[in-house]
Amino acid sequence: MIRLLLRRLGQGVLVVFVLETITFFLVRMLPGNPFLGERKLPEHIMQQLQSLYGLEESAWVQYWNYWKNILLHGDFGPSLIREGVPVSEMIAQAFPVSFLLGVLGMAIAMAVGIPAGMLSAYYRNRWPDALLMCVAMAGICIPAFVVAPLFGMTLGMHVPGLSVAGWDDALCVVLPALTLGLINAAYLARLTRGGMAEVLSQDFVRTAKAKGCRPLRVLFVHALRSGLLPAVSYLGPAFAALITGSFVVETCFQVPGMGLHFVNATTDRDYFLIQGLVLCYGVLIVLANLCVDLALLVLNPRLRSQGSA
């Protein structure tokens, strides 16, 4: 187990490295540069700025310098738009916000989505199933940019303590988390139902039923483990995506999280900030997928023997 973990972490480092490399060259292929303003800069000033940040060098030299600064000085570079502010500081400010929101959202999603999916599978092809799946499909089809303002205008305006948008008191987190949570709950419910339905029609479940197990026991003890597989493999990347922020929810509720930085850094060509954010996201993806794979091993003992073979 430990060896597996170490091997996977080693692979993870490689993944992040490759990711950073590709991103580095991709963002420099984008049209425009960070210093383009609404007004055209005189040529000599543009050159001056480029050379100040080493952007006039060839891409390979820049690439080398980028890693050198990270490895030798732990410096992830400055923001090229908010000059003088290190990228690490911007991420350090935004990450806790997105993390809080993501964890809450995921908690809501799992608390609502998985039971709903199980219930739906249990009543498969009867009316509770149809009802639940209609609601879930609605949750999947109605995009966040519709749900978020709707929540803001209904709950935010009328429930005391909640607010339309903004980030100035403790309860501000409720509506964005609810939006993120319910959308993901819909996905989870759908996936759980699918997985459970598959398992419930298998022989061992029928055997259990035939032996007189109570239906709920069958559902929770016998079927749950493998029935959750699709949902669990969805959870990993979804969780990583959630805690690195969602642009739509953050703009609609004015939340100072990572999603805003991600989009703004891209449209402004803030090279170092994009790199930093991708680094952060990559690490989270690797960790989340690692957790998922471990969870899969726990859920399915047969894979364990496979893995060691």
Binding site: V146, F262, S305
Partner: protein, 321 residues
């Protein structure tokens, strides 16, 4: 798909009835699936054929004297913020969105399924390499990839349009909206398969360790045969479920991408762009949001029920319940 020997416990059936016949019967007995199928057919007819009828006005004809009008005989759904008939826009938008939904999802499905199958079945180093590649692609900023991609495809796609215009003699206005979608199909298809690949791989690993696959292997069956006959059919459920989940996302992604010049070009519309425009005006003219959303949700709901019905019908085990 080949289903005949998909399950080791397949019982002998009455002569002359293939599994396909059974499946069709089961599907026909599923009321929800049949209603959904009918609805989808209707939607396809409405979106692709109805606009040919002269009673539907040009969806791009503006009438600034009659903006955001409410429902009337002349405009059953009212008009939008530039006085264009909303019904016509929803129908024309449906064309684009259905096309994107089918084609882009199809591309993503094929890539994701094959990739996940191979990765999960082969296992070991190959699996590690393939899955780490997915990790990298997953973490790459989508929007950066898409902008770079759209730039590199701009020139070839323009040339393609010119070529089609010259060879077929159709006008640019009819050709461009559809051909303009080709880069989009490639972009979405090329990136939409990642989650599916992960899910398929997990399932494949699970199935691979089941007794009947071991049995098949010990009987000396080739890998390709095992993959196609014993594993792929059992992934059907997951794939159907995931597809119904992915289609709405893909259709909506189109609207996001139209903002960077990829996807449907203004003044043409898609359900995604209509919903997006409607969302901004929801306090003032909720109709602009409600009508496209209802079409969109109903279509996907129907797709969902049909998918479930198909899966139940094709899964021989379910018949015993």
């Amino acid at each position: 798909m080949m289903m005949k020997s998909s399950h080791p416990a397949a019982r002998p059936y009455a002569r002359g009835r293939s599994l396909w016949d059974d499946a069709r019967d089961r599907l026909c007995r599923n009321r929800a699936a049949m209603v959904s199928l009918l609805f989808l057919l209707l939607m396809v007819v409405a979106c692709f054929l109805l606009p040919l009828c002269p009673c539907i006005p040009n969806p791009n004809e503006t009438d600034l004297g009659n903006i955001a009008a409410s429902c009337s005989w002349e405009h059953p759904f009212g008009t939008d913020q530039l006085g264009r008939d909303l019904l016509a826009r929803v129908l024309y938008g449906g064309r684009i969105s259905l096309l994107v939904g089918v084609v882009a999802t199809g591309v993503a499905l094929v890539i994701g399924l094959l990739y996940g199958l191979v990765s999960g079945y082969v296992g070991g180093r190959t699996d590690a390499l393939m899955m780490r590649t997915v990790d990298v692609l997953f973490a790459l900023p989508f929007i950066v990839l898409v902008i770079v991609f759209s730039l590199s495809i701009e020139e070839p796609s323009r040339r393609l349009t010119e070529w089609v215009v010259q060879t077929t003699g159709w006008t640019r206005e009819t050709v461009a909206p559809i051909l303009g979608l080709v880069p989009l199909f490639i972009a979405i298809g090329a990136l939409g398969w990642l989650t599916l690949a992960r899910i398929v791989r997990t399932q494949t690993m699970e199935i691979k360790s089941q007794e009947y696959v071991l049995a098949a292997r010990s009987l000396g069956l080739g890998h390709v045969r095992i993959l196609l006959r014993h594993i792929a059919p059992n992934l059907l459920g997951t794939v159907v479920v995931y597809t119904t989940l992915a289609v709405p996302g893909i259709i909506l992604t189109e609207s996001t991408l139209s903002f960077i010049g990829l996807g449907v070009k203004a003044p043409n519309s898609s359900w995604g762009t209509l919903i997006k425009e409607g969302a901004d005006r929801m306090e003032v003219t909720p109709e602009l949001l409600i009508f496209p959303s209802v079409f969109f949700c109903l279509t996907l709901l129907a797709l969902n029920f049909l998918g479930d019905g198909l899966r139940d019908a094709l899964d021989p085990r379910s018949s015993k319940d």
